[in-house]
């Protein structure tokens, strides 16, 4: 390395003022990014990786946040503590950033053209027609299809992947030397993720940018990075090139991250077990209304004539990209959404059951949601949350007895029983998901719908939750309907899989069969995107 690094960060700390003690989010980290190189910072949520990225742009909420010591040098120039004017010149010009959430990082009130050309006119002083021409060029560069007609589009008219492309176009507008990508693909579907990563890779090579990639996903790191920094609790625990990190991880935490993949399923339940939940030709249609009189002109066929069959102690996976109707199907099966078709649960035909008829069955038919932060009422204590089901079904008898039951279920899901008087905000994401599972399990259900129970969690926590779910299944003979877009977890959990797309079944079969010999083009594309992060063109 003869040339000096483009970005050099030394001994950087970030501290937040807080009551009662200041929070040290980042502690004395040092790293450097060379020209044309991709450095990935990997770590679990809360480890300080996003704070690091924001402190390079100096976009932290100062003065609440401050840097007790450290230096950030850009091409030899000290930018930590530079004045606002200099920073504004740098931001969007020499350093650009793409954010995680493409839904909120574009202004919903401005057209695509306006947002992209704003950057150009600010830093380059382009006039309208030049800016407009350059915007079009950029949109073509990032591979936005039909770029001319998209110029006047509003953000809500674009899909998540398209928005992320627009974000990238904005970031690249001034040909920055350094691109900071903060979890650029986390909010996107697997197939779109692969496309965006490809795009970033290609652009980086073409423009010779340096890239700082912030991610928790080791798959992304493996595909993109040249060098990797592993962060844990505000400290960089390991800094090495990609090959060494993956082949000889030195630090214990890195090894822990690498081993956090869920292991494969090793039990085979009896194939002739009784059917617990089944549905024939189940459909959910949402009307599209048009005109002054709101006439229903058509329907969105969110779920279209799907048959499913779930046997006792089995796990049925439902796989698909967002918008494929898999969550809708789950809610319809639980009769939380109106649907057409036959649903049988155990001995009874529950389609058409009223609230009163459904109530006793609700005990046996439970659901666990994706986001453990929104699925627990923040105003109730953990004990109250779990108790609710017992109260509704008049189970558990007296209060002491109920407390006892709550304690034992908490213990079963791996939460300290004496914590039942705490409130959800005192728990981490993984613990909350355990609590959500406890809420479902205390009723001793026969069948549980798991709606992306691991998607909002860190990789290593995911593996723990998968283990817990499998353990519970074995002990209580549970049937799971496992909804997910994460094929790794699906492979670890499921006996058979339904692949859904646009409300229809694309493929249905045993797990090993689907993964080893996928029959449809779409399934193959999904698997390629999920495991190798490769793009495969699929035509609808």
């Amino acid at each position: 390395m003869s040339r000096p690094p483009y970005l050099r960060v030394e001994n950087l700390s970030v501290t937040f003022h807080a009551e009662p003690d200041p929070i040290e989010a980042v502690r004395r980290i040092s790293f450097q990014v060379n020209e044309g190189e991709t450095l990935a910072i990997v770590g679990e949520s809360g480890c300080g990786k996003s704070v690091t990225a924001l402190s390079i742009m100096q976009l932290l909420p100062y003065p609440k946040a401050f840097h007790p010591h450290g230096s950030i040098e850009l091409e030899g120039e000290q930018i930590l503590g530079a004045d606002d004017r200099r920073l504004r010149e740098l931001r969007g010009n020499s350093i650009s950033m793409i954010f995680q959430e493409p839904m909120t990082s574009l202004n919903p009130l401005h057209t695509v053209e306006k947002q992209v050309s704003e950057v150009l006119s600010l830093h380059k002083g382009f006039n309208r027609s030049t800016a407009s021409r350059r915007t079009l060029e950029l949109l073509r560069l990032v591979g936005l299809q039909e770029a001319e007609s998209r110029l006047q589009a509003w953000p809500h008219q674009l899909s998540g992947g398209q928005r992320q492309r627009v974000m990238i176009a904005m970031a690249l507008a001034n040909e920055p030397k350094l691109l900071i990508a903060d979890e650029p693909t986390t909010a996107l579907d697997v197939t779109v993720q692969a496309q965006i990563l490809d795009l970033l890779h290609e652009l980086q090579e073409r423009l010779g940018m340096a890239m700082l990639l912030i991610t928790h996903d080791l798959g992304v790191v493996r595909k993109m990075a040249d060098r990797v920094c592993v962060m844990h609790e505000g400290v960089i625990v390991e800094d090495n090139d990609k090959k060494s990190i993956f082949s000889h991880p030195e630090h214990e935490y890195t090894r822990h991250l690498l081993e956090a993949e869920p292991t494969d399923r090793n039990i085979t339940p009896c194939p002739t077990a009784p059917i617990v939940l089944s549905a024939q030709k189940i459909s959910v249609h949402f009307p599209i209304q048009k005109g002054v009189l709101r006439r229903t002109v058509d329907h969105v066929r969110a779920v279209n004539e799907i048959d499913i069959e779930l046997r006792e102690a089995h796990t049925l996976g439902i796989v698909g990209e967002s918008g494929s109707g898999k969550t809708t199907l789950g809610l319809a099966l639980l009769r939380l959404l109106k649907s057409k078709g036959k649903i049988r649960f155990g001995e009874s035909d529950i389609q058409g059951f009223g609230f009163r008829d459904m109530r006793p069955l609700r005990r046996q038919l439970q659901i666990v949601f994706q986001d453990p932060f929104s699925s627990l009422n923040p105003r109730l204590s953990v004990g109250q949350i779990i108790e609710e089901g017992l109260l509704v079904h008049r189970l558990g008898g007296r209060r002491d007895n109920r407390r006892h039951m709550i304690s034992s279920i908490l213990e079963e899901v791996g939460i300290e029983p004496s914590w039942q008087d705490r409130y959800p905000h005192e728990f981490s994401g993984g613990q909350r998901q355990r609590i959500a599972i406890a809420r479902a399990m205390i009723l001793k259900p026969r069948c549980v719908v798991l709606d992306e129970p691991t998607s909002a969690l860190d990789r290593s926590v995911q593996a723990q939750i998968v283990d817990l779910l499998r353990d519970l299944q074995r002990r209580h003979n549970l049937s799971y309907l496992f909804i997910s877009h994460d094929l790794r977890v699906v492979r670890a959990m499921c006996d058979s899989i339904i692949v859904m797309r646009n409300g229809k079944v694309v493929e249905y079969g045993q797990t090993h069969q689907i993964f080893e010999y996928p029959r449809s083009e779409y399934t193959r594309a999904l698997i390629a995107a999920a495991f190798e992060l490769e793009t495969v063109e699929v035509f609808p």
Partner: protein
Amino acid sequence: MSDAQSAHNDFSRPKTRSLVSPLNRRRLANFRSNKRGFWSLWIFLFLFVISLFAEFIANDKPLLVQFRGDVYMPIFESYPETVFGGDFETETEYRDLYVQELIEANGWIVWPLIPYSYDTINYDLPVPAPAPPSSENWLGTDDQARDVVARLLYGFRLSVLFGLILAIVSSILGVIAGAVQGYAGGVTDLIFQRFIEVWSGLPTLFLLIILASIVEPSFILLLGLMLLFSWTALVGVVRAEFLRARNFDYVRAARALGVSNISIMYRHLLPNAMVATLTFLPFILNGSVTTLTALDFLGFGLPPGSPSLGELLSQGKANLQAPWLGFSGFAVLAVMLSLLIFIGEAVRDAFDPRKTLQ
């Protein structure tokens, strides 16, 4: 990993849950840290409690009379004049000098701090009414020779009580209406929304004026009339809150558990909406007080003779040569409304999720 460590390791926490959730405790602390709002609340409460005991502070009946060894409490009971050796069977006129002499010959009288009630007419004014402030009438009298301090005290109480009842009842109605609308959604919501739009389009003040000219307005009637139009204030926010929260995962989870709609609304959704409600409440209270004052000022409010701040203001307008009327009315209104606004501000800040849900 983070799973096992991130929660704090205090096992020592007592098993019994305190009544106030940590969220509310933080809100209370936030409210306390806003000194202006906190002190405004105490001053307002102090004034309000004082005014609740207005009868003991400003009254034309003595607190205590001792007459021939017997103790009488004219504030609670009415005694005919004959009890004290007078001539009439009617209730004793304690302010009558003749009666006072009769009693003091055989006992004594304890008067309240201000020996005037809101409707007591001071017949021995040295100057024509309205009389300027003096040692007898601290803030002077109005143009009907009634003591201004006494009228302010009773007027304050009436305004605050009217405002409180109106604000609370209309909030309850508004919350119920908003909750039903937001939770049901769909057609119910649509119809209700259109109805509320039409209803709140009615010119409230004109309607009140027309109605006031048909029927004699009383406290209850006025309250009812104003309630007809003020309940819509909160519907919008509560509806929006319910509409937003009814598809939350924890509401869905409750439905999956088989919890009934009513308990979902009460247990899971109402606390969300209460934040908006409590934040608006002081401002609704302010609005109610101002409306009542405005009606009184125009002469369409409470029946003639009632202690009312609006009526005092209109007297001030009619008697510009007696500035103490306008000034004292203005001062009381200004202080009361400012205190309420300060309290409201502090409550709003205390509920601010950016401060409480860090």
